[in-house]
Symmetry: C2
Subunit: 191 residues, 2 copies
């Protein structure tokens, strides 16, 4: 690993350990064994370093979704697995999840970040499209349903993170809410 990669890894570890506020350039440099302004030789600013962390995490999510899509499980299970990838990431790495989906000021940085994010969400969309092709989910134009499903999952994840909504649902898991939604979409008003 070169210095830039080690800085990215150190920033990711600090995000996990102490959240956004813990990622000071002094702490990142110290973890890697360089001075507090060495990062400026590899990244234009602290935000660009964070964007590089997000870029690496989008690549990792895309890989996981590719695996889910290629698995031999039932279509509904593949869809729930795909959503679970996002849910688990948000629980294991909450600060890094927020970096991916809750930071408009960072979303536009790095030039390649927007493309990497599109690739990752494209993999998720392909799994939803598979679910539509098998008749599990209703057909819609383009990737509308994928966007609605991901938006709902993201909304439930945020609600869980902020402790705002979930406690009063009686749902043991975000996945319960997503199962209910999928059943409502598949079954319509009859259910």
């Amino acid at each position: 690993m070169n210095t830039a990669e080690r800085l990215i890894a150190a920033a990711a570890d600090l995000l996990d350990a102490g959240g956004d506020a813990a990622v000071t350039l002094r702490a990142v440099g110290s973890a890697v064994g360089v001075s507090h302004n060495a990062p400026y030789k590899h990244f234009a600013s602290r935000d660009e370093l964070l964007a590089a962390v997000a870029n690496a995490d989008f690549h990792a999510l895309a890989d996981e979704w590719r695996k889910v899509r290629a698995s031999d499980r039932e279509p509904e299970q593949r869809l729930l697995d795909a959503l679970d990838v996002a849910v688990r990431f948000s629980r294991d790495h909450p600060a890094r999840y927020r970096l991916l989906f809750n930071r408009p000021d960072i979303a536009g940085l790095g030039e390649s970040l927007a493309r990497t994010a599109d690739e990752a969400l494209g993999e998720f969309g392909a799994i939803v499209a598979d679910g539509q092709a098998t008749g599990l989910l209703p057909a819609t134009d383009g990737n509308e349903l994928a966007i609605l499903l991901f938006a709902t999952a993201h909304g439930l994840i945020d609600a869980e993170a902020s402790g705002r909504i979930l406690p009063k649902t009686g749902w043991p898991e975000i996945g319960t809410g997503l199962q209910i939604l999928i059943r409502l979409l598949a079954g319509g008003a009859r259910s």
Copy 2:
């Protein structure tokens, strides 16, 4: 307005004008005409001041939802109006919207903030329940559907704010996505 209320209003204005980073205690104090540490006589910390802004905004949202619920429009329009309240607030006051729904570290502060948030979301839930009572929306246990609808709206709002997803949908508005979802829920797999 007493000093505490003027500090809250000044913080809200700074959030609108320059985002979270613009809300320094020095800027807030200066806007009100007091010193940069006078806020500590009214709030325990900068975060508690921000929580007070969030508390006021939740009260305002609850008022708007009450008005929507009492209006004489069609049930579907009332539901779309209710969702539009959140969408418009997120566009007119993005930093303040993020304070309400994207800041787990602030959600737990102030003691009354969690209650105010519950009251506001309860008003939204009542509008959804009205939609279920009229047969527009499928019946579910408790307020499950309200949570799913709000989570989806929040997810689409976040997606628009981060510029991540909406550009490639061809949707002119977040409301378009919400209309599609409501129609899918009402009509089921047939659509």
